[in-house]
């Protein structure tokens, strides 16, 4: 089990890195869906009482929501607005890949210095979650298409969820459900707004959203 969870965590970082260098919008959504599925499986492998009914229910909810429902919403938005590729982002693909690799290093250094709580199964959990959070934020800041910004937000949220896994047995499942529901509604609302943006501007580049400033 230990090795399986290490493997999943490594795969999650790899997927975040892959996203940083990917230009196809549908590709981005599919990768983030895959990442969501990996996240769904993690609670089963990372804790001692892996196949606990509660863990199973959470894993199933996570798997469905992040692996299927949210990507569906985004893919629907892409179909509606008929745009396939991210234009040249503010930070190019190669620099963002290098930056991503650097962020992974940084998060390992940071988590070395943090006092690791006792009873954590996988030593990779905290560095991977920090790296995923930072890469998600990088995507949110550096991408121009509204849709890739949402994908960035999802990666960011996945990283935070990973962090939460380190304490998930102490957090009541109701709260976790609330968090999941909020994320879903957030993406849903963003999807609607993207549609409005596409209709108003005939494009989903946030470059057009610059009329308000001081």
């Amino acid at each position: 089990m230990e090795q399986l969870s290490q493997l999943l965590l490594a795969f999650i970082v790899f997927l975040s890195l892959y996203l940083l260098g990917s230009s196809s919008l549908t590709g981005c959504v599919k990768i983030v869906a895959l990442q969501g599925m990996c996240l769904g499986l993690l609670p089963l492998t990372i804790h001692e009482q892996g196949f606990h009914p509660r863990a199973l229910a959470l894993a199933a909810g996570m798997f469905l929501l992040k692996g299927f429902v949210i990507p569906r919403v985004l893919l629907y938005a892409i179909r509606e607005v008929k745009i396939r590729r991210e234009v040249e982002p503010m930070i190019g693909y190669t620099p963002s890949l290098l930056l991503g690799a650097f962020l992974i290093g940084v998060s390992f250094v940071i988590s070395e210095r943090l006092p690791v709580p006792a009873g954590l199964r996988s030593s990779l959990l905290i560095p991977v979650s920090l790296a995923t959070i930072m890469m998600g934020m990088l995507m949110m800041i550096s991408r121009i298409k509204a849709l890739t910004q949402v994908v960035g937000y999802l990666v960011f949220e996945n990283g935070i969820y990973l962090f939460g896994l380190s304490i998930s047995y102490e957090i009541p499942w109701l709260i976790e459900m609330g968090v999941l529901l909020d994320v879903f509604v957030a993406v849903f609302v963003m999807g609607i707004v993207i549609n409005h943006i596409a209709r108003a501007f005939d494009s989903i580049s946030t470059e057009k959203l610059t009329s308000l400033s001081d």
Binding site: G164, S166, E170, A186, M190, L209, L212
Partner: protein, 479 residues
């Protein structure tokens, strides 16, 4: 049970609003729902309800203060909405009405929850429910504002979740102590919390909830959002949602203070507070758009709140008082700004000029609101701002006091230029009268103004007692 009603009544009202088919009857759901909500709160004032669901729900003095302010603001704004929605019949108001109800429900959840995770869920729900309000006008500018609001809001609220997890980690190991995110558990175990994780938690919660409050440098969404949202949505966002975000921050501070980290947290509060005031001062000068000007004023007052809490017990008392005063005065300003905006069909000094001749009552209230918010006696914000200043001077923080007064003066001058130009003078001949003053839309800001004057002249004992108790909660651990 009472908690269920507080959160449930607005939520059900929202669902009813979604279901009702008639555009004429639907707006009436708002005042009815808000009135029921307010009457439950009056019952809470008489005797505070017991904690429920293993300590997850409880209203302490701090929660009661924010909840009462929110409910009162909602009640008055709902009356304003009746008339406002009648004027804006070209827009379907189904989502607008429902989302206002949902915000009230989410905000009630934030105020009554004693669980940091649940508090987060409520805050996120309030953030999301406010997005359709910002987008109400359905034009390109409001779309841009909504997008920025959503992106910044989601990022901030995500970081607050991370801070909440840090908080749970700081309480390791958990054996036999109960849920690590219930505030009372954290408070009783404050001495044993891991300091590095707790510091991290406070920083992330400060950044996260600070984004929702609009503390500089995390305020960039605020001018766009308040500028494009309808006036009544601005009043709700600036008075209610920001106050709730501040409540989240105060909960984090409460735990830090109990763990003996109050100096660390207070230092950060003072820094963010002065920075917010300085940012507001820089952008308020020469601001031609009076709704954006109000947004920067909101940034300033969030800064004053943070600064007050950073200055110790006396400052905390003043800050909590200022929370109420700011909420009420923002109600006056945003509602009348909405009226003036409608009267001229524009919200910059180029369009709106000589409002006193066109909408005399709204313009007078706008002017009085400006005088009040910049801290002139006899209005209520003067009392609380003076309290913050006195706390700084008594604590020998002369640099802070000087900065505070200096920035207030700059902001006064900056706002005066815009407000006076909007209020006085002669309206452009070619701009046609769009809407004049109407009774309900004047009544609402008038009620707020009366409250602001009343609280400025006389602070009732019951209010002092609750604000005092709330301030005591926040300085329990401090010697």
């Amino acid at each position: 049970m009472i908690y269920l009603f507080l959160v449930g009544v607005p939520f059900v009202a929202g669902l009813v609003a979604l279901a009702v088919g008639s555009d004429e009857r639907r707006p009436w759901i708002l005042p009815v729902g808000c009135a029921i909500h307010s009457s439950i709160i009056v019952a809470c004032w008489r005797n505070l309800p017991e904690p429920a669901v293993s300590g997850w729900f409880y209203i302490d003095a701090l929660g009661l203060l924010v909840l009462s302010l929110s409910s009162a603001l909602f009640l008055v704004c709902s009356v304003y909405c009746l008339e406002y929605l009648r004027l804006r019949q070209e827009r379907t108001e189904r989502l607008f009405t429902a989302c206002l109800c949902f915000i009230l429900g989410a905000v009630s959840l934030v105020c009554v929850s004693r669980h940091m995770g649940l508090l987060w869920v409520g805050m996120e729900a309030a953030t999301l429910a406010a997005a359709p309000l910002v987008h109400f006008n359905h034009n390109e500018k409001s779309l841009e504002a909504t997008w920025k609001y959503l992106m910044m809001g989601s990022l901030g609220i995500g970081l607050a979740l991370l801070g909440t997890f840090f908080l749970a980690l700081s309480a390791l190991p958990y054996e036999g102590h109960g849920d690590p995110l219930v505030i009372d558990t954290l408070l009783t175990r404050a001495g044993t919390l891991s300091v590095p994780w707790l510091k991290g938690a406070f920083i992330f919660l400060l950044v996260g909830y600070g984004t929702k409050m609009g503390l500089a440098p995390l305020h960039s969404w605020k001018p766009d959002t308040y500028g494009e949202a309808p006036g009544v949505a601005g009043a709700i966002l600036a008075g209610v949602v920001t106050s709730c975000a501040f409540l989240g921050l105060l909960r984090a501070f409460q735990i830090c203070a109990a763990a003996g980290l109050s100096e660390f947290a207070q230092g950060l509060f003072v820094l963010m507070g002065l920075l917010s005031m300085a940012t507001a001062a820089a952008f308020i000068i020469g601001q031609r758009d009076f709704k954006r000007m109000l947004a920067y004023s909101s940034v300033e007052h969030m800064g004053i709140l943070a600064l007050g809490v950073g200055l110790g017990p006396a400052g905390t008392f003043a800050a909590l008082l200022h929370l109420i005063n700011n909420g009420l005065t923002k109600g006056v300003l945003f509602l009348t700004a909405g009226n003036i905006h409608r009267a001229f069909g524009g919200k910059t000094m180029d369009h709106a000029h000589g409002a006193l001749r066109r909408v005399p009552v709204s313009a007078t209230l706008f002017l009085l609101g400006f005088v009040a918010i910049t801290g002139s006696p006899p209005f209520a914000p003067f009392v609380s701002e003076f309290g913050v200043l006195r706390a700084a001077v008594n604590g020998d923080r002369f640099g802070v006091a000087l900065g505070f007064v200096g920035l207030l003066a700059i902001i006064f001058i900056g706002m005066a230029t815009t407000v006076l130009s909007v209020v006085y003078g002669v309206p452009n001949k070619d701009s046609k009268v769009v809407h004049g003053d109407s009774p309900l839309m004047i009544a609402a800001p008038l009620v707020f103004m009366a409250a602001v004057i009343f609280l400025g002249l006389w602070l009732p004992d019951w209010l002092t007692a609750v604000v005092g108790n709330a301030a005591k909660l926040l300085n329990r651990g401090a010697s």
